[in-house]
C-alpha cells in the first residue's frame, strides 16, 4: 500500500517542524492535510490564489491583506509558500505561553503580522495613504471620503509620536500597547 507515501510527511520533517514551532505531531499532521487540500493544483506549495480560494477569506474585506502579510512574513520568495513556511507563520498565532520562551508566537511577532497588513509597500512605515487604503477596503462605500480622512488623520496623529507623518513599527507597537494582542491574535489549536 505505498503510492501515497509522497503525501505523508516523514518523521524527521515532523520532528524538525515540531521543534521550530512547538506544534505537536498531530497538529502538524492535520495542518499538513489542510495544506494539501488548499494546494488544489498539487504543486507542493501555495500561491496567493490558493488562499484566496477559501470563500471565507475571500469574503473578508481584508482577505488579500491577510494573505499578503502571510506571504511577506513567510520568507524572501514571497510567491510560493511551502509547508514549513506555512506552519511557521501559523505559529505566530499560537497563544502565548508564559512558561515557555518561544520565538515565534510572542507579542512582537503578532504585532508584526498586523503591521504588515497595513504596510502596503513594505517599507517599514505605515503612511496616511496606506492607512486610508486599508480603512477604505474595510468600510467600502459605506462612509464618505471626508469621514475617512478624518479618521485617518486622527489615528495617524495619535500614533505618530515623532511627528514624521508616518508610523514606524515601534510607534505601531506603542499605539497597540493597550490592546490585548495576545488574546485577539491567538488561535486555539486543538491538540
Amino acid at each position: 500500500m505505498g503510492n501515497s507515501s509522497s503525501l505523508m510527511l516523514r518523521d524527521e520533517e515532523i520532528d524538525n517542524i515540531s521543534k521550530e514551532t512547538e506544534f505537536n505531531r498531530n497538529q502538524i499532521v492535520r495542518l499538513y492535510s489542510r495544506f494539501l487540500s488548499l494546494d488544489k493544483k498539487g504543486q507542493g506549495f501555495l500561491e496567493r490564489e490558493d488562499l484566496m480560494n477559501v470563500p471565507e477569506l475571500a469574503v473578508n474585506p481584508l482577505g488579500d491583506r491577510i494573505v499578503d502579510a502571510f506571504f511577506t512574513l513567510a520568507g524572501k520568495d514571497d510567491k510560493h509558500l511551502n509547508f514549513r513556511q506555512f506552519v511557521q507563520v501559523l505559529a505566530y498565532f499560537q497563544p502565548i505561553d508564559k512558561t515557555k520562551k518561544n520565538q515565534l508566537n510572542d507579542r512582537s511577532k503578532k504585532l508584526k503580522f498586523a503591521f504588515m497588513m497595513y504596510d502596503l509597500n513594505r517599507n517599514g512605515y505605515i503612511t496616511r495613504e496606506e492607512f486610508k487604503v486599508i480603512l477604505n477596503s474595510m468600510v467600502g462605500a459605506n462612509i464618505t471620503a471626508d469621514q475617512l480622512d478624518k479618521i485617518a488623520d486622527r489615528t495617524i496623529e495619535e500614533a505618530d509620536t515623532d511627528q514624521d507623518g508616518k508610523i514606524s513599527f515601534e510607534e505601531f507597537c506603542k499605539a497597540m500597547e493597550k490592546t490585548d494582542i495576545e488574546d485577539k491574535m491567538s488561535i486555539r489549536f486543538l491538540n
Binding site: N24, N53, A175, M176
Partner: protein, 601 residues
C-alpha cells in the same frame, strides 16, 4: 496482446461454468426488484462488513499499542495524556485510529462527549444516532468560536462586545481571517468526509492508509479482489439491465394514451428500473416517516450529495425531474423518461432565462395530474456533512414543499461526487467498486409558504428543518462557491457590517470621530440586527475611553429581518452548473430552480 490459446480456453471454460449462477442471480434480482421485495441479503452483507471493519479497527489499535510500547516517544506528556484517553476509548467501537504514534486525536472534551454518545449505539448501520453524531467530530484543527456571519436576520444578538482600545487599527484581532486559512466551512464540504475507521478502501482517507500489520493487509487484498472480481462484474451487468429496462419500459409506456393507466404503468416501471439500478451499487436505503411521502403534485425538496440521490429517492416514490437537457447517454435517458411521463428538460438557452424555467415549473406544479417534482435547491453536490444555501426559485412557485432529508453512511463508500475532480464515468466506477451505499431518507411534513413570507426566508426555513432531521450542519454559504469566486456583494456586506459594528462601538465609547456614522446606522437598523464579529471589532477610538462600555439599548434591540438591501445589491451574473462547467446560469438567491437533476442515478 493476443491471449494464448490456453488462456482463451480457460476463460471460455470459466465463463461456461459461471454463466448459469450469474444468470440466476441476475434473474432473481430483477424479479425481486419488480415485486419490490428484498431477501434482506444486502442488510446481512452490511452487517458482515461492519463486523469485519470492527475487527480491522481492533487490529490497528493493538498494533498501535504495541508500537508505542516499543518506541520511546520523545513527547512524554503527550503519551501520558493519550494513555488516559486510551482507557476511555478502549471499549468504543468507533475509536479513532490514526497511526502508530497516534495519541488523542480528539482532545476536545466536546468531541469526546459526542463520540461517547455515539458509542452507545455502536456501529449498527441502522442506528441513526451514530450516523448523525459522527460528522461533528471530524478533523478539526482549531477551535473556532468566531464564525463568519452571513445571515442578516441572525437571532443571536451580539452578546460580547469586544473591547476596542485602538482607534483605527481595527485589523488587530482579525484572527478570523487566519482561522479561515487553517479551517473553513466551505471548502471542507467539497472533500470526502473524513471517517473514523478505515473501511478497507484506499480512496477514503490517507490517514489510515499505512502499513499496520500483515493481517490487515491480507484483509485489504481479499477485499480488493472481492470488490473488483466479484462485485464489479455483477454490478455492471445489473446496471446495464437496469438501463435497458428503463429504455424498453418507457418506450412501451409511451405508447399508451395519457390517463390513469399510463400513470400506473409508469409508476410501476420507474420503481422497478430504479430498484434494479440501485442494486447495481448495493444501495441499502432506509426510509423513515413514510406517511409524509408526497403523493400528488407538489415539489419535493432534498439535500444533494450525488447524482444517485435521484435513484435512491426513486426506489420508493416516482418523481418528475427537472434539469437541463443533455446529449449522449444522459440525453438518451432523459428522452426515455420523457416518453413515459412529463419531465422538465430545458435547453441551454433557456437556462439563462429563469423566468422561462420558472414558468415551466409553475405549469407543472399547477397540474394535479402530474407527478411531484424533485428538486435539489442547493444546486450542487455537497459531501453530506452539511446543507448549504437553498436557491429560492423553487420556493417562489407557491406549491406545497415536501422536504426530504438524506444522510448517507459513508463508511461503506463515499457517495459524494466531486464533479470538479471526477468525471461521471469515474464516479460510477467508484460507486460500483465500493462496498455498498447506505442511505437514510427522512420524509418531513409538508411545508407551505406563510403569508407575507419571503421566498428566501421560506427556503431557509425548509433548509433548517432538513438539516436538523438529517443531522447535517446548516450553512448559509452558497454551494456555488465551490467553483466560482466570492461575489463582490458578499464582501460589500461584510464592509457594511463592519461599519455598523464600528458605529456601535463608537457610541459605546462616546467618541466623536465615528459618530458621523449615525446616519448610516439609522438607515441600516431596519435591516440588520447588531453584528459583532471578531473580525470586525470596530474602529471606534477607545484609546481615550473605557473598554467596558456596553450599549444595552442597541445590543438588545429586537432582530428585524429583511433582505431589501441584499436585493438592491448588484447580482453576480455568472456561475457554472453542476454538470456542465461552461454553462452560465443565473446565480444566487434569485436563481430559479434551474439546477440540474440528473436522471436515473
Amino acid at each position: 496482446m493476443v491471449p494464448s490459446p490456453l488462456a482463451e480456453h480457460a476463460i471460455l471454460l470459466a465463463s461456461t461454468f459461471l454463466f448459469p449462477p450469474v444468470a440466476m442471480v441476475v434473474v432473481v434480482v430483477v424479479l425481486l426488484a419488480t415485486l419490490g421485495k428484498s431477501l434482506g441479503l444486502r442488510e446481512r452483507y452490511v452487517a458482515t462488513l461492519i463486523w469485519i471493519f470492527e475487527w480491522g479497527a481492533r487490529q490497528i489499535k493493538t498494533t498501535a499499542k504495541l508500537k508505542r510500547a516499543e518506541s520511546h516517544a520523545p513527547l512524554d506528556i503527550d503519551i501520558e495524556s493519550s494513555e488516559e484517553e486510551e482507557e476511555e476509548e478502549m471499549d468504543e467501537d468507533e475509536t479513532e485510529r490514526s497511526t502508530a504514534r497516534s495519541d488523542g486525536y480528539e482532545s476536545s472534551s466536546l468531541g469526546r462527549q459526542r463520540r461517547n454518545s455515539a458509542n452507545s449505539v455502536s456501529s449498527r448501520a441502522s442506528s441513526v444516532c451514530s450516523l448523525r453524531r459522527r460528522h461533528g467530530s471530524g478533523n478539526n484543527i482549531i477551535r473556532r468560536d468566531t464564525q463568519l456571519n452571513l445571515e442578516d436576520d441572525d437571532d443571536d444578538l451580539c452578546r460580547e462586545i469586544l473591547p476596542v482600545t485602538s482607534r483605527g487599527w481595527a485589523v488587530i484581532g482579525d484572527s478570523n481571517g487566519i482561522e479561515a486559512i487553517i479551517e473553513d466551512e466551505v471548502t471542507s464540504r467539497f472533500e470526502a468526509e473524513q471517517l473514523m475507521t478505515w473501511n478497507m478502501l484506499t480512496r477514503t482517507s490517507t490517514r489510515f492508509f499505512q502499513f499496520v500489520n500483515w493481517k490487515l493487509t491480507a484483509l485489504y487484498m481479499a477485499g480488493f479482489i472481492f470488490r473488483y472480481a466479484c462485485l464489479l462484474p455483477m454490478r455492471v451487468t445489473l446496471f446495464i439491465i437496469g438501463l435497458v429496462f428503463m429504455l424498453v419500459s418507457t418506450a412501451i409506456v409511451g405508447v399508451f394514451p395519457d390517463g390513469a393507466l399510463k400513470k400506473a404503468l409508469n409508476h410501476k416501471a420507474m420503481l422497478t428500473c430504479h430498484r434494479i439500478l440501485s442494486r447495481s451499487i448495493s444501495a441499502v436505503v432506509y426510509f423513515h416517516d413514510e406517511q409524509y411521502k408526497s403523493s400528488s403534485h407538489g415539489i419535493a425538496v432534498a439535500n444533494h450529495t450525488s447524482p444517485m440521490d435521484v435513484m435512491v429517492l426513486s426506489t420508493d416514490n416516482v418523481y418528475a425531474l427537472i434539469g437541463q437537457s443533455h446529449g449522449g447517454l444522459l440525453g438518451l435517458m432523459q428522452r426515455a423518461l420523457s416518453r413515459a411521463s412529463a419531465h422538465i428538460w430545458f435547453d441551454r438557452s433557456e437556462a439563462k432565462d429563469r423566468s422561462a424555467v420558472s414558468k415551466l415549473l409553475k405549469e407543472h406544479v399547477s397540474d394535479p395530474d402530474k407527478l411531484p417534482i424533485l428538486i435539489f435547491p442547493e444546486g450542487t453536490c455537497i459531501n453530506n456533512t452539511s446543507v448549504m444555501m437553498f436557491k429560492k426559485g423553487s420556493f417562489e412557485v407557491g406549491a406545497t414543499i415536501y422536504p426530504i432529508a438524506m444522510k448517507y453512511d459513508s463508511r461503506f463508500g463515499d457517495p459524494f461526487w466531486n464533479s470538479s475532480e471526477q468525471s461521471w464515468g469515474e464516479y460510477i466506477l467508484r460507486m460500483m467498486t465500493s462496498w455498498a451505499i447506505i442511505c437514510h431518507v427522512w420524509y418531513l411534513p409538508p411545508m407551505t409558504r406563510l403569508e407575507d413570507e419571503e421566498a428566501v426566508d421560506f427556503a431557509n426555513r425548509v433548509k433548517k428543518v432538513i438539516a436538523a432531521r438529517g443531522g447535517l450542519v446548516d450553512l448559509e454559504w452558497d454551494g456555488m462557491l465551490k467553483r466560482c469566486k466570492v461575489p463582490p456583494k458578499l464582501v460589500a456586506k461584510q464592509q457594511e457590517k463592519f461599519v455598523i459594528t464600528s458605529f456601535l462601538t463608537c457610541q459605546q465609547l462616546q467618541t466623536f470621530t465615528l459618530c458621523t456614522f449615525g446616519s448610516i446606522y439609522a438607515n441600516r437598523l431596519s435591516r440588520y440586527t447588531s453584528t459583532c464579529e471578531r473580525s470586525v471589532p470596530g474602529t471606534g477610538g477607545g484609546a481615550m475611553n473605557g473598554d467596558d462600555a456596553e450599549d444595552e439599548g442597541i445590543a438588545s434591540s429586537p432582530p428585524i429581518s429583511g433582505y431589501a438591501s441584499l436585493e438592491e445589491l448588484p447580482e453576480a451574473e455568472v456561475v457554472t452548473d453542476e454538470e456542465d462547467n461552461e454553462r452560465p446560469i443565473p446565480r444566487s438567491r434569485s436563481r430559479p430552480a434551474s439546477h440540474v437533476v440528473e436522471p436515473g442515478h
